[in-house]
Amino acid sequence: MSDRIKKTSRHPVQNESLLFERSRPGRVGYSLPSLDVASRSEEELVERRLLRDDDLDGMPELSEVDVIRHFTRLSTWNYGVDTGMYPLGSCTMKHNPRLNERVARIEGFANLHPLTPAAFAQGALEVIDRLEKCLTAITGLPAVTLQPAAGAQGELTGIMMIRAALIDRGNPRKRVLIPDSAHGTNPASAAICGYTVETVPSNADGVTDLDSLRRMMDEDVAALMLTNPNTLGKFEQNIEEICRLVHERGGFVYMDGANMNALVGVASPGAFGIDVMHMNLHKTFSTPHGGGGPGAGPVAVTRELEPYLPFPRVERAADGALALDFDRPKSVGRVRAYLGNFGVLVRALCYILAHGDEGLREATETAVLNANYIAHHLKDTYDTPYPGRVMHEVVFSDKRQTPHGVRNADIAKRLIDYGFYPPTMSFPLIVQGALMVEPTESECREELDLFIAAMKSIDEEAATEPELLKHAPHTTKVGRLDEVAAARKPVLRWRPADEDKKRAESA
């Protein structure tokens, strides 16, 4: 490619078809012990009409080598945190320590059945109890549930608890207020709990507009859902006043803790006056994103809301043993089978212990320093709609590049050629052409400098060679895909060629 690009060079990438296309009748990739009991005819055990008659037609037949090659080749088409900087705003793509992986795979955790009696699962319950205590310390809120499987489920759990508490006070209320900079999960979670959603505008500084909030906050409002720091990377400086306003009118404050990586060890949300918050263990606490999960979305609450936490709770009995407490009459119920994404919890606890107090604070400081370093070095090149200090992330816009016909997506796609994963673009909705950059603490200065240089170089290209950007990336296995055609005539699964043809004819 071009001399401008220092970080990457090209090497051959293997092509690879679908598992089904690779399949050859008779190939085998598994080994099982032979059946060691007397076998009877299946039809004797289960009526014929309840049995399948398609012989699993279409399922692949592959050798172990085929399987290894297939997935290894696929993996090389991905960009991960281990590949390089992954500045995806609000996603906190930090290093995923291998130690976490090692401990989660210890047999005593990995092979433990979820309905093992508590007496035989004390070690697992200890992990839960210890992590709850750590998160209590980090949030400054007195009680935590680890049951929710992801951030959005944590939000849902939190709003369910607020609704239950309001019902106990006599009126569930009708509306939930959400700032215009919020993640899309916030309104979606509020809606499942039967609330209508109202948008609170941000002010020129990029934080909640207090006057609007004052006007909108009435006795019909159940809660304010606030992300702090928000998706613009700004700390809600008036958070205490905001909490006071909401509480005065009998509402609750829900804090979306997706951006907790800016606060751990520096400030604890419990002190802000909030009532309930979730955290994303797959963001702040380094558990791998896994190409879209699994995550975990623990929820921390005040004493007032504690009775509403999902059941069961892990409690320590008088004899010191841990047990499950199902007797929670005010609980909102169970939001997930068993006790949550346990394997994720082990990893998060491992991260916390590996850092200790000082390490956690250092991580936060470094994440915030890195974001400000990028903000500082790019502020003369890219429009920064909400200038000034930021916390863990900074939002630029494409305003200075659009006159060349170049939009945020073009800049982002071009970054791929420079060896970086693109920033977040889909929100905050209040910034037209947003480029939301969150470097995390995992990036060293050279990587940040390379990123800054790449962004500056792309800005020059926007002026001189805009077409280069509009067709970027140029170095990947596939170029930009036709998403319009994909959505108009969705093909969501593979079918054998003859079946495909038959369907086309009948349609």
Partner: protein, 443 residues
């Protein structure tokens, strides 16, 4: 801290670039009164060695050396070693949701393969990229059926995993639905007389094999539901059964969801697991969760993209079909590798071994004096044993012989205090089955 690359000098020089003397200045936005002045209280950092020994010590407090016959939604199955090797490719596990398709083709292609195999197994037309687990997938199915039918009454089988029912109850609590419980019969399957379907019924919700291991007559249930314009939702907690049993799609099911843990995912004390979600093409726009579809680039090269995203929260916000964002991508990869490795023959063989071993165990236990099978309906790899004394007591006595013999049902079904739910998979050797039978006979 070893996970943070910059040296103290580098940090100082970066701060200097920003015109700051001290790191505190960088937090100027946070009012001083809200800033912590002391440590959080976690303690000092532990070294790698200390952490490994700490977690080993905790893990030793869990009894995984017991012979287990526990099932009930989480199953002990053979896991091919290639799975852990392949998912440890960090391009898979350290990647984010594949929003940028050009650098996420690995993730997108395996999800497309996963969607395809879920369809092949369930007999449905479309499947999504995953839900958190079987229980939340079922709750999403109920919410979706209400959107599709614009009705709000549900008939829910009491032979659905009790924890799944609890999740459905919690997640639909504020939707204003009516959930009517249908009872199981003496045979162990749904009692047709207890199913009250009318013109307001959105869906009949069943599990098969059900919580007792019994195989439901899905065709009859689908016919009854469809006659009233309602949907049939089928939950599956043991998807290995699909290697052998008629797929719900071939029986007329409208939404088939379930737990994919059996497909190569460790039991890991309940998670992370894998919810799968499949339905008919005509309902695809009401589906929750991400979908991957085929797409082509300018040069005509095939690739894959997230598609039909307008259903989702990041676009439709409060009108989205679900609030789900993060799902179980890596667990979907585990299942995809499992199904690819086992393949058409292996999936069939595992299912066969489960069926045979469970039936041998059931036959031998029911021959013991005082024991018998509680239900008569055909079963797959789980069955309910009637015990001569309270099942909870039987289970406790088996602990002394290092056997987790099953789940006492009295806590979930008060009338079944003398019933033990026993699961026998391909991982139980003949010796283990014999040991269980001997132990029961000697109690």
């Amino acid at each position: 801290m070893r996970y943070i690359p910059n040296s103290p000098d580098e940090r100082r020089s970066m701060l200097a670039d920003l015109g700051c003397q001290d790191i505190e200045e960088i937090f100027a936005q946070v009012p001083a009164a809200l800033r912590l002045t002391g440590p959080i209280g976690i303690g000092a950092a532990l070294s790698e060695t200390e952490i490994i020994s700490y977690f080993r010590r905790l893990a030793a407090g869990n009894s995984v050396d017991y012979q287990s016959f526990l099932g009930a939604g989480a199953y002990s199955h053979f896991i091919p070693v290639v799975i852990d090797s392949l998912i440890s490719r960090s391009e898979f596990f350290t990647a984010y949701t594949p929003y940028q398709p050009e650098v996420s083709q690995g993730t997108l292609q395996y999800i497309f393969e996963f969607q395809t195999m879920i369809c092949q197994l369930t007999g449905m037309e479309v499947a999504n990229a995953s839900q958190y687990d079987g229980s939340t997938a079922l709750a999403e199915a109920v919410l979706m059926a209400a959107r599709v039918t614009r009705r709000d009454k549900f008939v829910i089988s009491d032979a659905i995993h009790p924890q799944y029912r609890e999740v459905v109850t919690a997640m639909t609590r504020y939707a204003g639905f009516t959930l009517d419980l249908a009872r199981h019969s003496e045979a162990g399957t749904l009692d047709a007389d207890s199913i009250k379907i009318d013109k307001e019924t959105a869906a009949v919700v069943v599990q098969s094999p059900n919580f007792f291991g019994c195989i439901e007559d899905l065709q009859a249930l689908a016919d009854a539901a469809h006659e009233a314009g309602a949907l049939l939702i089928v939950a599956i907690t043991e998807p290995i059964s699909l290697g052998l049993l008629k797929p719900p799609g071939a029986c007329g099911a409208d939404i088939v969801v379930g737990e994919g843990q059996s497909f190569g995912i460790p039991m890991s004390y309940g998670g992370p697991y894998l919810g799968f979600f499949s339905t008919l093409e005509k309902y695809v726009r009401q589906m929750p969760g991400r979908l991957v579809g085929e797409a082509y680039d300018e040069k005509g090269r095939r690739g894959f993209v997230l598609t039909l995203s307008t259903r989702e929260q990041h676009i439709r916000r409060e009108k989205a079909t679900s609030n789900i964002c993060t799902n179980q991508g890596l667990c979907a990869l585990m299942a995809t590798i499992y199904l690819a490795t086992m393949g058409r023959r292996g999936v069939r063989e595992v299912a066969r071994q489960n069926l045979q071993k469970a039936h041998v165990a059931a036959a031998e236990i029911s021959r013991l004096k005082g024991y018998g099978l509680r239900f008569t309906a055909p079963f797959f790899n789980e069955f309910v044993v009637r015990t001569p004394r309270p099942a909870a007591e039987v289970a406790t006595r088996l602990y002394a012989r290092k056997i987790l013999g099953g789940i006492a049902l009295g806590g979930y079904y008060p009338a079944l205090g003398d019933s033990l739910l026993v699961c026998v998979t391909e991982t139980a050797t003949k010796q283990a089955i014999d040991d269980l039978v001997t132990a029961l006979s000697e109690l």
